[in-house]
């Protein structure tokens, strides 16, 4: 039970930093190397053979956060306002490989930008590494309900 509590705390912190568009603090939650994956079209496609909405390794994740802070990322000026709920959190493997914990959750995001409100829902899978200083995100897979629908501007942190 203690583990689920710690995991929950971590996922809520991640959600809070993403909602706040706190790119640097959010980036600091990630391990190196890491994988940030939002599949496109279907959740189970092989990302080496199929396009993804996001398939960031550590270097590209850093580019993503840099881009959003350097000024001139018009698609986030003004920034999206996002309010997300993280729920149905489950530890699916408490003893993952290399000292990791496998976690699944459901996320509902409401995003508001330039007067338009959008709702996104996703099943998420997280691999958390138990680092000496607490959890680090080694892998996050966000399976959007809308992965196969035409989407608008998704440049906020998903």
């Amino acid at each position: 039970m203690a583990l689920l509590g710690d995991v929950t705390e971590f996922l809520l912190l991640e959600a809070e930093l993403a909602d706040a568009n706190a790119y640097d603090e959010w980036l600091a939650l990630w391990d190196d190397p890491c994988t940030y994956w939002v599949p496109c079209n279907r959740d189970d496609y092989d990302p080496t053979k199929h396009v993804s909405i996001i398939y960031d390794d550590r270097a590209r994740l850093e580019e993503r956060c840099f881009r959003l802070t350097t000024g001139g990322a018009h698609s986030q000026e003004p920034q999206s306002k996002v309010c997300r709920m993280v729920g149905s959190i489950r530890v699916v493997d408490a003893q993952g490989a290399d000292d990791t914990v496998e976690v699944t959750a459901r996320v509902i995001m409401v995003e508001l930008r330039l007067g338009r409100k959008s709702v996104y829902a996703a099943r998420c899978h997280y691999t958390l590494w138990r680092s000496p200083s607490g959890f680090k995100l080694r892998r996050k897979k966000v399976m959007l309900l809308d992965a196969d629908e035409p989407l608008g501007n998704m440049t906020f942190l998903i």
């Binding site: 279907r42 080496t48 053979k49 396009v51 909405i53 580019e63 881009r67 330039l114 035409p150 608008g152």
Partner: protein, 436 residues
Amino acid sequence: MAQYAELIQPGRVHSAVFTSEDIYEAELENIFYRYWMFVAHESEIPQPGDYCTKWIGQKQVIVSRAADGEIGVFFNRCRHRGAAVCMEEYGNASFFRCPYHGWTYNSSGDLVGVPYPSRYGDDFDKSSLGLAKVARVGSVAGFIFASMAEEGPTLAEHLGKAAGYLEDFVKASPLSTVSLSAGTSKSTFWGNWKFVGMDGYHTNFTHKTVLDLRQRKQGASYSRGAGNSDKSSNESWDLGNGHCRLDLTGKDKVAVGSASNTSIAANIPDTDDGREYMRLMTETYGDEAPEVIRRSRDVHIHVWPNLQLIGSQVRVIRSLAAGRTEVMSYPAMLDGVPDSINTERIRSFEWFSGVASFGTPDDTEVFERNQIGLQSDYIPWLVLGRGLTVAPQEDGSLVGNVTDEVPQRAQMQAWLRAMGPESAVDVAVRTEGEAK
């Protein structure tokens, strides 16, 4: 009322062209339901019985490969009482069976089964009740086009000089074929479809962060934005019939394998697979291989009205309303190359293209702001006068500096011809500054 010719003038265009719902409806009839529209790529339906569903304007069509390999494009509408007979985006089927009363069509669109037929009279003729076919279908380099007009220019006539670039695009494969097998990046934006064009003027401003990212990676050696200024030797081309392209190679064509600071497509990696790819290409194209690769990598063309090929990607544009557009993008996979070459094409696609990428979201953001701006039509004119005086080349092409509005004017002229310069439309054209 105004005539279309009043809306499209030599160096300026009226904003109603982008904001009027009447004009949107007229575009469906005059362009989308008449011109040669890109509908699908042959690789999406490789086997007999394969089909995919696509949209031409507001009409859904089934692109089907029949048992004999023939490709047909049919309206997705049962000939009985009109229900859509197919709801899958991709599939393989010997028959399309209407869910309503069970009429059944084969993959050539013929009506082959009608339940309880005895209640129809003797004159009931199944052979005249096949799925309605889009009048004309043709393909070039695997790109399938369809036109609802029974008559008119042939596909070859319509494509004209653009056809060669379709061929160039697929020649990055040693088999000279590509596959749209890596899925579809699907997007929409709140703006007019005609904003999706070929524009070499916006790059350094709309894509400011792309320059930032390149500079971050390449450091001091990076000459920021040099390829997209009035001093650049990059070019913008009008190929006729609304087709246009950007030539981002500069006059000193960059060598294959060396870093191109203009092309957004991937270079050949210095790996075993990269060398194997070069070997395969040389096997097919001989000494021409580097030039074939360069030409393919630098394809940057709009095939009017609804297709773009940019580097390694295919983009398809559909208008949903005056202020709403759908864009489907595909990273084109090269047939017959090591897997990692295609994986790299996918990763490179994702960097710039897609709803959460570092490039196209800023384009669509700008298109949306364009739509907002154009609603304030107190002074309704958009100025398209950059490079207005460039002279035609021998073959009739117009070639300007990359930042010239040669492509925009080319597309507006093709649009005007399609809509009919003399045709009337419900727009009040007034003198500048004068209140409405």
